[in-house]
């Protein structure tokens, strides 16, 4: 029976991709993709309710499984994909009108969007660490042509850099997985189970700690590249700024969480096997360095899509730092921050897409008076900026506050002070650039024109959700996050 759940979950987006290859009419791509992403989202909600009611769901050989942590990420990722699918309709219509996209490009876009979703789902449902690796590499391959979508020189170069850097990283991760498997073979009797995360966690304490430490270093490099941890973040600003806006949004909202999820699974395993502060200290250091390196690039930025990419580097740093603190409050903060960051990044990248179309420029100084050119998008954009920089009453304020509190009470005073300093500095830079873009007088050439109603409504819903998370987290969501955090705390 449990096999059916996974067939449904992985099958819907794969079917969506296949159907898109067979279609000819523009409208149909949109119908199919909205249906497939919508159904996937509904299926994850249904599976979530099953998981939260009962135990974990696992296939007979243990290849796939679901627990509170994986369904939490499933909901975030499939929800983001649905938002992006809805936004893509209007965005691509405008790009067709601007003669930047034609019919065959549109088909490729929707096929790859469905494929991208299916690869992300594969990572999140994999219990077998080999499948986890295969899925992660497949996300890179599914997005390669989406990054190169506009076929400009710069976008092909960005895509090349993205595939090369992420493939090198992931090769290291594969070596880490082989080391883990090697260590497990000495403990687990059946070689078929020796790659299953659930089996490894059960025998965690018997695994050789020295080998697992070495394996974790390779895995941190590998999946850290994919998440965009410094110093392996260099592909991120290029890829995010060259990809179409909805794809940048989905990379910042979905792909980042996929990589963090993979890291998190190994983090739990290594903590179980090695104990002590080995993995937590690595996370704290990499988290803080990522935040710190992002700061100057945010302060001295010319291109607003790159600005958002560095914000993504910063927030991955925040999440990894929080996970490194290792207390229940910090885990809660980290998981809540994953959700908050996802929502804020969707709002920012999608509204930035509207700004990009209206001004036909990515340069910050070229954009002035957006509030007069496109009142709704500009308002949502500035709200997103306040949210992402951690202002109350938005959700990120709550999660960052939990993380800092956890940091101080865990005795990491110096690290926590640095954390606050980085967040505050980023805030200054962001507000400076964003107010310059939104307020002031537009130049005479900028004609008025906002995004389509559907996408603006969707983005507004996300902003409301951020407000809710920042003022009164619904008990249901609170309990859900606590259940997911309990998985980390083994």
């Amino acid at each position: 029976m449990s096999v059916v759940y996974f067939l449904v979950l992985l099958g819907i987006p794969v079917a969506g991709a296949i159907v898109c290859t067979l279609l000819r009419r523009r409208r149909w791509f949109e119908y199919v993709t909205v249906t497939s992403t919508g159904l996937t989202f509904l299926a994850t909600l249904w599976l979530t309710s099953l998981v939260l009611q009962g135990a974990t769901i696992m296939t007979p050989k243990g290849w796939f499984f679901l627990d509170a942590l994986s369904v939490y990420l499933l909901v975030i990722v499939s929800g983001s994909t649905l938002v992006v699918a809805l936004y893509s309709i209007g965005y691509l219509h405008r790009q067709i009108r601007n003669k930047k996209v034609d019919g065959s490009m549109l088909r490729l876009y929707y096929i790859l969007l469905n494929a991208f979703l299916s690869t992300m789902m594969l990572v999140l449902v994999s219990n077998n660490l080999g499948f986890l690796w295969i899925g992660t590499e497949a996300t890179t391959l599914a997005t390669a042509f989406l990054v190169a979508f506009y076929e400009r020189e710069s976008s092909i170069e960005a895509a090349w850099k993205y595939v090369i850097i992420c493939s090198v990283g992931i090769a290291f991760a594969l070596f880490g997985i082989i080391l883990t498997y090697f260590s497990a073979l000495h403990v687990v009797s059946s070689a078929d189970n020796a790659l299953n995360w659930s089996t490894l966690i059960a025998v965690g304490k018997q695994l050789n700690p020295d080998i697992l430490k070495l394996a974790f270093v390779f895995i941190l490099v590998g999946f850290g590249t994919k998440a965009g941890l410094v110093p392996l973040h260099t592909w991120k600003p290029d890829a995010y700024s060259e990809a179409p806006a909805p794809i940048s949004a989905l990379m910042a909202a979905g792909l980042v969480n996929i990589a963090l999820y993979a890291l998190l699974r190994f983090y739990i395993l290594v903590n179980k096997a090695v104990g002590g502060s080995f993995a937590p200290n690595l996370f704290i250091i990499f988290g803080l360095v990522s935040m710190g390196v992002a700061v100057p690039f945010i302060l001295l930025q010319r291109d607003y899509k790159r600005l958002l990419a560095y914000s993504s580097v910063e927030h991955v740093g925040i999440i990894v730092f929080a996970l490194g603190l290792g207390t229940p409050l910090a885990y809660f903060g980290a998981l809540l921050h994953m959700l908050n960051n996802t929502l804020a990044k969707l709002v920012l990248f999608l509204t930035a897409g509207n700004i990009r179309i209206a001004y036909d420029s990515k340069i910050i100084r070229r954009v002035t008076g957006a509030i007069k050119v496109m009142p709704v998008s500009a308002t949502l954009f500035i709200l997103g900026v306040f949210a992402v920089t951690g202002w109350p009453p938005f959700g990120l304020f709550v999660s960052e506050l939990s993380i800092v509190t956890a940091g101080f009470s865990a005795g990491n005073v110096f690290a926590s002070v640095l954390f606050v300093g980085f967040v505050a500095t980023v805030f200054v830079g962001f507000i400076y650039y964003a107010t310059g873009m939104v307020f002031g007088e537009p130049s005479r050439h900028d004609k008025k024109g906002d995004g389509d109603t559907l996408s603006l409504v969707v983005i507004a819903v996300l902003v409301v959700f951020l407000l809710v998370l920042g003022t009164m987290i619904p008990t249901m969501i609170y309990n859900f996050i606590m259940r997911a955090a309990a998985v980390i705390q083994v």
Partner: protein
């Protein structure tokens, strides 16, 4: 037919030859030569997998061995030489590190690889695996693959570097675990194959838009 020791010796000799091919890649400047050496390297790797499959009765790795010989030693090299023909770039001209220095650095990498492998080998009693001596060599192949990507800037060289790294990872898996479960190996193979296809398409397009595939000359994407 043969005892375990003979088979292990055979695998060690093959692995050492694989390491030699990576040094030959580093010592050359002809892109076509890189591709041929990569084909030989992959063929030897396929033989290692075949020996593990037949010699130690690990039949699950048989399919991976055949895939290595068919895909990595035949299909990918043919595709890459087509790419080289089409883009009409035959030589690696732009060296960030010259050949002599490169070879010396690679020799150092081999020593480094040995010191990385030592704790792994000491951490577990290795009596049950006959081919553990291959691990340091496989780590060296990985490192030299990465080195090729850093030191050689032509797009084709970068692909060869990446594939060499992957070969090193596969060899390490063979040496300490006799390879991963079949379905996982097949999935990994599929991913690598698709990655090479995509990179190949990009090489064509980069060439179309820039008239050169030297990825270092394109520096538009600075912040």
């Amino acid at each position: 037919m043969f005892d375990t020791q003979t088979i292990s010796l055979g695998i060690e000799i093959l692995a050492a030859t694989i390491l030699v091919t990576t040094f030959l890649i580093v010592s050359s400047r002809s892109l076509m030569f890189y591709v041929r050496l990569f084909a030989i390297q992959s063929f030897l790797l396929g033989l290692v997998a075949l020996l593990v499959a037949v010699g130690f009765g690990e039949t699950h790795i048989l399919i991976a061995a055949i895939l290595t010989i068919v895909v990595k030693a035949t299909v990918i090299p043919i595709a890459l030489s087509k790419v080289i023909d089409k883009i009409k770039v035959r030589k690696e001209i732009d060296f960030t590190i010259n050949i002599t220095t490169s070879l010396l650095l690679c020799a150092l990498l081999v020593i480094l690889a040995d010191s990385v492998a030592r704790p792994i080998l000491e951490a577990q009693r290795m009596s049950d695996l006959a081919v553990f001596k291959v691990l340091p060599m496989s780590i060296a192949v990985m490192m030299i693959g990465l080195f090729i990507m850093i030191a050689r800037k032509q797009a084709v060289s970068q692909i060869i570097g990446l594939l060499t790294m992957e070969n090193g990872v596969f060899l390490s898996g063979l040496s300490i675990t006799y390879g991963m479960p079949l379905i996982v190996e097949v999935g990994i193979f599929f991913d690598i194959f698709v990655a090479v296809l995509i990179l190949g398409v990009f090489v064509f397009r980069i060439n179309q838009t820039f008239d050169t595939i030297n990825v270092d000359t394109i520096r538009r994407l600075r912040h």
